[in-house]
Symmetry: C2
Subunit: 207 residues, 2 copies
Amino acid sequence: MSDTPDTAAPSRPRRSDARRSIDAILDAARIVLGERPDASMEEIATKAGVTRQTVYAHFPSRDALMAALIETAAAEYAALLDAADLETAPPADALAGFLDAGWRFLRRYPLLLDPTVTWIPRPTSNDPHDVVPPRLERLIQRGQRTGDLDGSVSAAWLTAAVIGLQHAAAAEVSAARLSADEAATLCLESTLRICGSTTTRPTPTHP
Amino acid sequence: MSDTPDTAAPSRPRRSDARRSIDAILDAARIVLGERPDASMEEIATKAGVTRQTVYAHFPSRDALMAALIETAAAEYAALLDAADLETAPPADALAGFLDAGWRFLRRYPLLLDPTVTWIPRPTSNDPHDVVPPRLERLIQRGQRTGDLDGSVSAAWLTAAVIGLQHAAAAEVSAARLSADEAATLCLESTLRICGSTTTRPTPTHP
DNA sequence: GTTAACGCTTACAGCATGTCAAAGAACGGT
DNA sequence: ACCGTTCTTTGACATGCTGTAAGCGTTAAC
């Protein structure tokens, strides 16, 4: 997935230390930028155990590094989503599974919580926007067909709304106004509501 | 509201051309940063008809300028919210009024649509976070007391969720996936749902 | 009309991003 | 184990943006 940051057709396979450096840089960027999104290339390079020029040897610019990082993130996100069977589980459960995958992803990539990243150049391939929303939208459409979800609101909007709700919940966690568990619970609750889930999900009163 | 960008107790009143410059700078920043959030001080100064140093004469740093800009924005937002009687109107109508104020505000300050701004140093006073969420939360709490809104979900979370929904809707407009009208309609619809509005708001079928 | 405040020009330092060239180190294949 | 290639490092350099400073012209306030 992060095979070729530079070009698409390497004449010869990459050397092992180069691959090690690339992985170290990507990992360092994930961590450092997760803590401080405006960290310099120097900091990332140092954290990766290489020099700044080595970073530029593999990623022609800061934006290119970001794009590659987002790209690997999207691949991991896609793997998480594929592991949660969104296609077959009951829609309400599938929605919970979608959100759960998101929480686990955001714990590994707190970088994407910071909004600074949203406007950087989109990766050439494997864009998160091409990976995450379509799967959620298919899930919502399925629920609307089966009648488990309300079909009177467009699935495209509900897709954006659900992701927006999760962003809002994550921001509340970042601001320490909610715990991770509270945020997940409330987010799921509101998600089911906007999707018009008819599943009688018991309000937390004893039976 | 934007009286004293520098200090709090000016020994003598500000001169007229100084005030004119300050207003021009703030207005230029609002417009230029709305188009390109990473615009330089030079561009802002040029747009304002002054030199870069004049900007620094009034705002000690870029962040200070941002803070002042956010501060005036918050004041305008507060005025819009106060004009829509959130305290007395029926909760569902008040929610619609809240969202409407938001749409009008975002049209004037597209700058705040860009997420780059969210993490800059908070203004010393008149922070938007101290202006907008409390009014919405009071409105939701009132609706929960009167029974017009569902009281089983915390008003604090619903506050964040409603604002998050509006952000999501605004992003869809920015991405040209929705028109402004569609976004407003869908956002209101989902807002009423997560708040558990019991108002029978007719689905858009003809009477 | 005098004075204080304000704006403009010029200059400078600091920092981050990119770029380049050359020498040294590590890898891969033989 | 050797050798050629690839990778890394060092050092230097150009550029652009931020922030600071002093001097001088201009304008508003009283």
